[in-house]
């Protein structure tokens, strides 16, 4: 069964998926919710960067009435899969509410049945695992055991909406104009070898973590083998999946601050490290020595998000574009400046982050570790 997802997602058994893309991210740093209208307009403005074979959105703060429940978005390729999955879900979770995700007819190709569930893990079943690990294990189980069911969103008070089509058409299909969130990330895709599979579109998600990605990791082979050592099963055979798991390992499991994770994914050159003051040098050197296999080598720009944080990052020699802008309490990240200017013609600040330098938008006062010393482009 495990093979199925990998095969569907990567039908030609290539080393990984190859695609080009457009990215857009928009966050209200005060946590005020806003409509999807602007993010949709912005990503639609970069139409030419995609080819209609994948579009998607991640939205945070959209389910305030269920803010403490895990919101599962599941796509089904068959009725039997839904029956099996429903049974599995009810065995392992308290299902508080479930419904078909509201859609409308739109210019998308072969939409599957999409359903959402608001659930709470059954406490007695955790058996010493953390709640998060339990949820991840159940998601992996559904994605691999039932065959034609795929959980594409599993966080609290957030949701991923994605599929085969241009992003504006995907938004139309999912009626995203009816949702409000404080953080939106968007993706338009230009795949070369994974057409037609709804689960293969971005964002990639686990718990409330999402990744949208433009690029192709030349280091995929070793990134994947390193993560396999820590129990991750790279079933999707895409480099975005590898990025998502790396984020999970470093940020969720090992609790490393985002500025440090940026230095792992896009490590400074040895010549730069050699010139640093001793304490910083010691840290950066140890990072490369220890986490060298997670250096994301080759072209990429990514937007990583989870509740309260949106992070933009490119590879260390910036082989893919990323532009940042701020206006009042909004932080914008985009593949092209035009998309930002479309929704906010005047900006307080707009800048091209250097390769490997993260742009981090943080919400209010959260108990995350701040590492100001290593943030050269601090968001105001």
């Amino acid at each position: 069964m495990m093979k199925n997802i990998g095969k569907i997602n990567n039908p030609y058994n290539d080393d990984k998926d190859f695609d080009g893309c457009s990215l857009f991210g928009m966050m209200n740093l005060e946590g005020k919710r806003f409509s999807a209208r602007d993010p949709i307009r912005a990503i639609a403005n970069m139409h030419e960067r995609g080819n209609g074979l994948g579009g998607g959105f991640a939205a945070y703060g959209i389910y305030p009435e269920h803010q403490d429940d895990y919101a599962f978005h599941i796509m089904y390729l068959s009725k039997e899969a839904k029956e099996k999955t429903d049974k599995l879900l009810r065995e392992n979770f308290e299902v508080l509410h479930d419904e078909e995700i509201p859609t409308r007819t739109a210019n998308v190709r072969d939409p599957p049945l999409v359903w959402r569930y608001f659930v709470q893990p059954i406490k007695q079943r955790l058996e010493g695992q953390s709640e998060e690990d339990y949820v991840i294990a159940q998601v992996m189980r559904i994605n691999t055991e039932t065959g034609k069911a795929f959980v594409f969103s599993s966080g609290k008070n957030m949701g991923v909406f994605k599929g085969v089509g241009y992003p504006e058409d995907i938004a139309d299909f999912f009626r995203l104009d009816e949702y409000e969130g404080y953080l939106w990330t968007c993706h338009g895709r230009f795949p070369t070898n994974t057409p037609g599979w709804w689960g293969g579109a971005h964002p990639f998600n686990i718990l409330d973590w999402t990744v949208v990605h433009n690029g192709e990791l030349s280091s995929y082979g070793i990134n994947r083998r390193y993560l396999e050592m820590y129990g991750y099963k790279c079933t999707m055979r895409t480099d975005t999946e590898v990025l998502a798991y790396a984020v999970d390992l470093l940020m969720r499991r090992q609790r490393l601050p985002v500025e440090i994770v940026a230095k792992i994914f896009a490590a400074p050159l040895w010549s730069e490290i050699d010139a640093m003051e001793p304490k910083k040098q010691q840290l950066l050197k140890a990072l490369r020595q220890t986490y060298g296999s997670l250096l994301m080598n080759g072209p990429f720009s990514i937007i990583i998000a989870h509740h309260g944080e949106m992070i933009g990052l490119t590879d260390r020699i910036k082989l893919r574009p990323l532009i940042a802008g701020t206006r009042d309490n909004f932080l914008y990240l985009s593949s092209e400046e035009a998309a930002i200017r479309l929704v906010s013609p005047t900006l307080d600040r707009v800048w091209y982050p250097r390769g490997g330098e993260p742009v981090v938008g943080k919400l209010g006062e959260r108990p995350t570790i701040e590492v100001l010393a290593y943030r050269e482009e601090k968001v105001k």
Binding site: S219, R225, K280, G298, I369, E370
Partner: protein
């Protein structure tokens, strides 16, 4: 007893070109050439010639040609010239047939059946002439995760890494002992390693005091004979290697014939001059894995945990399981030496029949350590048959952290792989302790040749990495998607963990 052995090579001398300068007479250490004053002509004893090409290289008028003896026994696929010679030799001497250098048989090389990838369109290749391209490598144990804390707004590292070796290029010089090679050659290796930011390895013959100043680029060996091991020896080096086995002769110890044990070699080895320095087959304090752990920690204690400890084994059938045990026993570096690895002296039957190709050993050890979740606990250094920068790149993509070279290094300073190192009469002045012959290697010129080779290979490695769109070597290490196989069976592909070309 009349020998039935035919000369292997025939020396041809163009009488018109020969000017009787006697360079060949003086250069040949096997007394192949002699001057016949009566006829004013130089003659040759063909049976002495080993085809080392020393006389050919130095003949000022290019008068000499060495040919394989065209006389041959009746053709026979099973009974080759080599088989005939071996049997005739043994029937005349009752001896074990000795040889030098690595296995010369064609059937073990997987490098030539692995091809590399390059970027086209969907990701860009990188030009190392215009962009940074990093090949620095650190050898030693790495933690599972780093712990850090915030102090006054700064992240401070809490995890202390164990000692690491810093290589500016992922190529080291393999272990070659003083006695097996001359002091001049060892000095050249030490100097080139220092210049290029890598390491040479003392081998099991101790370290000459004159080389202590290169200690910051030295790995010293502790082998079964314990030759030359004393506190200062351990202190002066940057890493210590326990030698369990060698690719050219798995299962047996090092051999240095008494003829090569001069006063100086004897002093460094701490043995009487002229005695055979025969290392026992096993380390007699290591009969099991827990014994290895004791020796590893005895060395770590003795050096106050300031140096990584490497354990070198020959690549054999169960290398993966053995390596796993070594890592759990505390080895910081696993040095694997494949069946094509060279030696100064080994029984030919062992050299050519025992062990497995290094490619398969790297793939299996790397994979096993990953499956057990301990790949980060030790670095893998591969040796035994690395001939070019392409082999280096392929070894690293299969899963090695770095490689060691010895044959290629000796070829760089003159060696022609005539396979007669055990005689101690190396006409190129390399595998000898004879002070007169040793002078043929000038440490300054030899170290320049070695450094040139390392720089050239390093640049070629960067070119190949750039082509793949990779600008740091850690992204190549264990990245088997960079490789494809040609002419390999499904089983071979599976063991190597690579796909078929075109797949």
């Amino acid at each position: 007893m009349k020998t039935y052995l035919l000369p292997e090579y025939i020396v041809e001398r163009d009488a018109e070109r020969c000017i009787r300068c006697k360079v060949c007479v003086n250069q040949c250490t096997y007394d192949t050439h002699y001057y016949d004053a009566e006829d004013d002509v130089i003659r040759s004893r063909d049976e002495n010639c080993v085809n080392c090409q020393r006389c050919v290289t130095f003949c000022p008028t290019h008068a000499i040609t060495i040919r394989k003896n065209p006389n041959a026994y009746r053709e026979n696929s099973n009974w080759t010239w080599e088989t005939f010679r071996d049997i005739k030799k043994q029937s005349e001497t009752s001896g074990v047939i000795l040889t030098g250098m690595g296995c010369d048989k064609p059937h073990f090389t997987y490098w030539d059946r692995l091809l590399l990838n390059a970027s086209q369109v969907t990701n860009p290749s990188i030009d190392p002439l215009r962009e940074p391209m990093e090949i620095r490598t650190y050898l030693g144990a790495k933690p599972d995760a780093l712990e850090m804390e915030l102090e006054n707004g700064d992240v401070v590292l809490k995890t202390q890494l164990t000692p690491q070796l810093c290589l500016e290029t992922p190529i080291m010089f393999s272990a070659m002992s003083y006695g097996a090679i001359s002091l001049n050659v060892q000095e050249a290796l030490a100097r080139a390693a220092t210049e290029c930011g890598t390491y040479f390895n003392s081998g099991e013959g101790g370290l000459h005091k004159s080389l202590y100043k290169y200690g910051s680029h030295a790995i010293v060996q502790v082998a079964s004979g314990r030759f030359g091991v004393h506190p200062e020896y351990l202190d002066v080096a940057t890493a210590v290697e326990i030698k369990i086995g060698q690719g050219a002769k798995p299962g047996i110890g090092g051999h240095l014939p008494g003829e090569k044990v001069t006063e100086d070699v004897a002093r460094v080895r701490m043995i009487p001059p002229g005695t055979d320095a025969l290392s026992p087959a096993p380390q007699h304090d290591i009969y099991s894995i827990e014994d290895l752990r004791q020796l590893i920690y005895a060395i770590k204690e003795a050096t106050n945990y300031t140096k990584p400890v490497s354990v070198k084994i020959a690549a054999v059938h169960n290398s993966a399981a053995i390596a796993s045990g070594m890592v759990r026993a505390g080895a910081d570096i696993i040095a694997l030496d494949g069946v094509r690895g060279a030696t100064g002296a080994a029984p030919k039957v062992i050299r050519d029949n025992v062990g497995i190709p290094i490619e398969l050993a790297i793939a299996q050890v790397d994979q096993r350590l990953r499956e057990e979740g301990i790949r980060n606990k030790a670095s893998i250094v591969a040796a035994g048959g690395i001939r070019s920068s392409a082999d280096v790149v392929k070894a690293i993509a299969l899963g090695a952290d770095a490689v060691s070279i010895a044959t290629a290094a000796l070829v760089a300073i003159g060696c022609t792989i005539c396979q007669r190192c055990y005689t101690g009469k190396c006409p190129w002045g390399i595998a000898t302790s004879d002070p007169w012959i040793s002078k043929r290697v000038n440490p300054e010129i030899a170290s320049e040749r070695l450094a040139n080779l390392l720089r050239a290979w390093s640049f070629e490695i960067k070119e190949m990495m750039g082509g793949m769109g990779i600008n740091a070597i850690e992204s190549l290490r264990g990245n088997r998607l960079a490789l494809r196989g040609v002419g390999l069976t499904d089983t071979e592909l599976k063991i190597l963990g690579v796909k078929m070309a075109g797949e």
